[in-house]
Symmetry: C2
Subunit: 232 residues, 2 copies
DNA sequence: CAGATCTCGATTGTCGACAATAGTATGGCC
DNA sequence: GGCCATACTATTGTCGACAATCGAGATCTG
């Protein structure tokens, strides 16, 4: 056999299209919802969406079914599909589920590769810090999401990642629907930094309890219930 | 206003049809897969399935999209839909995700209502014991699933429950594809009883570690890797 | 006879049209 | 004037048909 031009494993030219159309549609709509184009409670009209995306209603409906299965949309028969509402109860449930997944992710990465994970987390933290310094709350929020995404991805679990992807979108919806103050942003950066430090130190329980505190703070903010304020 | 016949909240007569057709289709197919009608790796043919269920391919595809989103089916473009394979890696990942969810459920129920949860678990345990006594491994497996379902439902979280529903189906597929020995059945009953006891004692960490051990045992069985055998 | 190429069948992917339903606006009645 | 019944409209739910793609078997060539 004549020698190949290069090692086949190195030129990895990826397939042109691999994922199904409904999957891509779901991704698009998910992003749009996360961006705030469709606020919580808004109805999604099939005909218009299909027109905008340049597809028929068939594939569109299949993609929307996926988002409904994820819980991002709620379907009312013969009425339509609506973006999930952010009731306090819903928010608490969202963060409960997120905590379940991320606690597991922490346990795995601490066991597997705490250093590498902390290293992967650091650039995200730097970006978050930068965004906080220039009062770019949107940027802080995006980095926040990315932090948790990186954390879960590092666990290397397909299922954890899939569940978390849904939760991250819901989290984005929360953040979108929420203004932020400078002290909140700084607190958030601080919390994430501590979690990363605990992971680097391979202290799973500490990282998990810091995570829980972080989540509790976020829920308190979102549900507008005053958390225990420090005296003074 | 004349007094109502009875308290409206007590006569809860549910709507005739409320859930969407794709949702019902997904439930049917999910059950069929759990029952073993479609073994792991089998292809699902749209036309035939649609004919059997008495619906068109449109709604059927929408329902199947849900199962694909759940991870129970895998889609290959222009090839078809296949039931997920039970590779060792897959099994490990499945149980990792299950453990994440159920640890959280335990934490919640221990905090909330350990007694009530233990009481709700007891009949399932009794049934499991009975099944084990008469060597009804299928019955043991069903009770096993039910145990975890009750546990998660008791946490009262919509998201946890939804994620777990998927995982329970995958677990059913595992169990379906697995023979059992008498000593395994007895061990399993024992493990579940201890978890329930720990929950009744409101000892969250103990219950969680027992759960972890239980899951590890199951994975060891399923992946056919010998777990550390007690000497003797 | 081995290998590659071509053709055919089956299955999936996509679309447009029709039917059914819920909400809305209008008209009539008390 | 207020309330109920009715017709209408917009949207969703469903279906059948057509197009695109892949795999397998047959065919041809060296």
């Amino acid at each position: 056999m004549p020698p190949a031009v290069t090692d086949p494993s190195s030129l990895t030219l990826q397939p042109v299209v691999q994922q199904s159309t409904p999957m891509m549609i779901a991704a698009r709509v998910r992003t749009a919802i996360a961006r705030g184009d469709f606020p919580p409670g808004a109805q999604l009209y099939e005909a218009e969406l299909a027109r905008q995306l340049g597809v028929s209603r068939g594939p569109l409906r299949e993609g929307l079914q996926r988002l409904t299965q994820e819980g991002l949309l709620v379907s009312i028969r013969h009425r339509g599909l609506f973006v999930v509402e952010l009731t306090p109860e819903n928010v608490r449930d969202m963060y409960l589920a997120r905590e379940a997944i991320e606690r597991c992710a922490i346990a795995v990465v601490v066991e597997r590769d705490p250093q590498g994970t902390a290293d992967a987390l650091q650039p995200v933290l730097d970006e978050m810090t930068l965004a906080a310094d220039r009062s770019d709350y949107r940027g802080v929020a995006e980095a926040d999401i990315r932090f948790h995404e990186v954390l879960v991805d590092r666990a290397g679990s397909e299922r954890l990642a899939r569940v978390h992807a849904t939760q991250a979108t819901e989290a984005r919806v929360c953040i979108q629907a929420l203004g932020q103050s400078p002290q909140d942003a700084l607190l958030r950066v601080e919390e994430h930094q501590r979690i990363a430090d605990a992971i680097r130190a391979a202290d799973g329980p500490l990282a998990q309890s810091l995570l829980a505190q972080h989540m509790a703070d976020a829920v308190a903010d979102l549900t507008q219930q005053p958390r225990e304020a420090p005296a003074g």
